[in-house]
Point group: D2
């Protein structure tokens, strides 16, 4: 399903090597200042270019097709597209018979009876996260003074990220990482249990980001080893401020006014330069396999801004629901 | 929101100390054999009674109000209710001015302007998981030969669960745990990216279970420390069987035909017998606080059957979508 | 699908001859006064008893299972059930092989592979409108000072309704009618085009009422014969008051602050006492057919209160969306 | 809300005088042949040009941005945009203080605090029906051998349409009309009561088309004047064929395998050349008002192809739900 959200609804479309990728945002309130320049900072943060990121570089200029008039949102659906200019589809022709390990090639082929656009992962490409980032820019404006900051806090098991990337480049093998996200200024009361707890909505959208394999809120997996008397956060004033924050700002699926904290696990880029094994549909046997195309060694480097966007979208939806 | 699912839709209602809790399942195919006896095994597994679980015991007899005729589903909505018989609401009157640490008392009071049913957590009580379990029984029937098995693999940081419970009873402090869930027999192709990846739907419903603070698929957080060449699962036959299973049976948000594996972190029961601190709205100061009522020392003991139910519901929905 | 609404969500369940019918209302704001007595007036209006209505009489006592505490809504899902006491299922056994003309017997059997509860129409029975009426009682409270009044303005082609019923009793043949509904006090701005226009949502829920075959807003079908200069309603003040009301209070799918008016066409009760023809699956030929069971001669008599409920539900949803 | 459908989901965006209008179709099965040429016939039918239609002419060339690869659908969201080339926005500047009677100017201004794109009706313009038509082309392909034919059967109260248009041109006043739609080849069993009856879904989407004020199925409003013995359609074979078709192919909200028939009422074009009255926000009084811009005298001429599209979208969704 290409839709997320109940009030602030985000729809995504496009393929890595098609004419464009894009996003439609429905349910955004009217009167929010918005123009092309607003997207620059976050699309730049998401862009490739650093050591460990893919040499494919796109301009990523947002084209606003609808929903904005005189530099403000109109209340009508906002559609933003990004043209794909820098595609080298020929890289992928050779791979039709050899599904890349770790990628969705095999499952997409099966799910869509071979009709899927297999070039560069098609609709399942990481390129689609650009659309999330664009929607996140709008969502952040809806959230006004609420700050969302995500950071890569570990790569390849190392908290010195630069060193980790350097090592990956030397070893020519991809690595994963852990992204931590902090949200400050949230009002108390966001989250719609039973099913739409704050954790439910955030994890739902976070797991739509490619390469994410885990999420934890507050003390998360660490909480499983704690005692109740250690884990419970004592409430210390009438606003609900807590002395500790093991809950990560959420009780019973509802924000409690304290800092919201979650961490996500990013797996190593599937397209590692190292030789691998995969099934060859032509020869009907397992064969050595080398990745072509242009790829990130550490996709996790680009995940923080996407995580912020995902969190912003989920929280904007909850905020608008809670008016 | 009390609804989950697009085709196989589950709606939950009720409060811990109201007349009943219940669930409506919409979109279940007609012709599935179903009768009261089918619910017994899983509702028993969920029940209190073991060391470390609450002394409050309910009969948990399902009353099927609709959607079943001549012991088979009719295609119409299935509503099942469970009467609440064993309520001691007076336990909670004292707590109106002292929100329990770790619980949702404070946020619910604020979100619903004080109108929420505060007795025993009201609609946010763990009692509502009985409804999930009931829906899970039906979902498992939709999934037919697909097996879902969840187990508590660690409690209070200890893999010897009995010893962990024993220690908690001695220390009179609640503990958390980790539940692992394995799904076998899933067809390839379930999951609807971009937004409704298999991980997205499973995590969405899992985080609606009270006390869950983390989830990871396959190698999960461990993946963040691996190299691509280690993490990628080599495809070794035409069915997509993989040599390893770091992906936990999901690639690009779509099931790949291998075993699906995920783990969830359960926090310690908020209602620990240990004395705590909380804000007192009457005295306007932080005061010592002791829990009354009847509670589990290790709520995680009861989570496996609920986890199975949650997974079954999400997967039944994806299966019916994928016909 | 048993659900209607985006914020104020109504879920319906039950069968005519099952243990109970019921409704769950999700998304109702907390703090609305609500108790059993509130339902009496509208459930009485819907009840059988007048000339031309079925001799089957039910107590229709609402049992509130959840979502209400201390006589006010809590913000949690509200579930209300009505027990079925007065069922004579044996009446229907003879009809298993002879689908009743005008009824859904044939299509339900085919759609659900024969597993549907065929007694009294099962889930498709007019009895389910009791659940709509109950949800309408709650919706009207959400709408506060907005008045919704529906009336039967024509029966069997006659505006003298009593005479029409008298004639139907004499002729022993069922009749249809036209219900007109007026909504006063609506704010300007309700309706969410493109797809969720005010007319779209009202017609959607109105056509879920059994026996409805047409709806028109304002001058409706009459508008098709008018000229633009006749049909357009001149705006005469800054509040948007119009000199005429051909639009029926809606422009471009959005309420304009004037009276909202719509009319619906109710077909004659399918269960007429007159002999008819239908296919007999046993004899495999067309045969004469006589209705058994207890039925209304003019179901339209009972439709006004259901229409009010339907309109109230749709408008409550739009109102809450528009905060 | 810009979305319609549960499986076959249509999202619409754009404004009359913005850069483009467009549509995203989610949930379309993979493997359906589709290319630019497929859209030509229906977009041409919708186009202006005949007597009685607006002189604004657009190229209406569909640009397929996603979801199609090697001339077949991929299973990913299909986005199609149409550039707006022929806009004369200056026509509308004068109208900012004088809301046009019959149009949504007044309600849009109020609903969106003046931020709406008022040029040519903005997002509420009839131009958006081009997007419906495009989605209808895809929906018709999903419906394969099911035929949907809509026709204008009455204009300005006259069944001789040409004469009616001629008279409207002479009188320089806009007129309305009635469109009849016939669907043949539908399987028995489409429709998801209680709430998603076939009539509910069709009317929902039909009332999203601008200028529609009524809909009736089968004998519709005529049924309200019939007796049960006249109205009931006798079932005459094991397939459910009926001797008459007063039900319009739908019983209990579910298709019965017979021809589906419905009629819709189209109001006269709001932009009539005749002088009218409206409120002037600057002078704060009612003043004479003359329409500028380019408009249809009989918008109903362009409605049949849009009606077919709307019906196709609703039925494709029900068909895919019913697999």
């Amino acid at each position: 399903m290409n839709s997320f959200g109940r009030i602030f609804r985000v729809h995504i479309f496009g393929e890595s090597h098609g004419p464009a990728v894009g996003v439609t945002i429905d349910g955004c309130p009217a009167g929010i200042p918005l123009s092309q320049a607003d997207f620059e900072k976050d699309t730049e943060r998401r862009k490739a270019g650093a050591a460990g990121t893919t040499p494919r570089k796109e301009d990523d200029i947002p084209e606003i097709l609808s929903g904005v008039f005189n530099n403000a949102t109109t209340g009508a659906p906002i559609t933003i597209i990004f043209r794909n200019n820098n595609t080298r589809s020929a890289d992928y022709e050779a791979l039709r018979d050899t599904p890349r390990p770790g990628h969705a090639d095999f499952v997409l082929h099966k799910k869509f009876d071979g009709y899927n656009d297999y070039r560069g992962g098609g609709h399942s490409s990481g390129r689609l996260t650009l659309c999330l980032v664009a929607a996140g820019v709008v969502a952040k404006k809806v959230l006004k003074d609420i700050s969302i900051i995500a950071q890569l806090i570990e790569a390849g098991g190392n908290t010195d990220i630069e060193a980790a990337i350097q090592k990956a480049v030397e070893e020519q093998d991809s690595i994963g990482g852990i992204v931590s996200c902090s949200v400050k200024g949230l009002p108390t009361g966001l989250g719609e249990p039973f099913f739409d707890s704050a954790e439910s909505l955030i994890s739902h959208i976070v797991f739509s980001i490619p390469a994410i394999k885990g999420i934890e809120f507050g003390s998360g997996f660490g909480a499983a080893k704690m005692k109740g008397s250690e884990h419970n956060d004592a409430i210390i004033d009438a606003d609900g401020t807590t002395a500790t924050n093991n809950a990560g700002g959420i009780n019973g699926g509802i924000t409690n006014g304290n800092e919201q904290i979650f961490r996500i696990a990013v797996k190593p880029t599937s397209s590692t330069p190292k030789e691998q094994q995969t099934w060859n549909n032509k020869t009907q046997q397992v064969e050595p396999f080398a990745v072509k195309g242009r790829h990130d060694l550490c996709i996790a480097l680009r995940v923080p801004v996407v995580t912020e966007a995902a969190a912003a979208i989920a929280l904007a939806d909850l905020l608008l629901l809670n008016r």
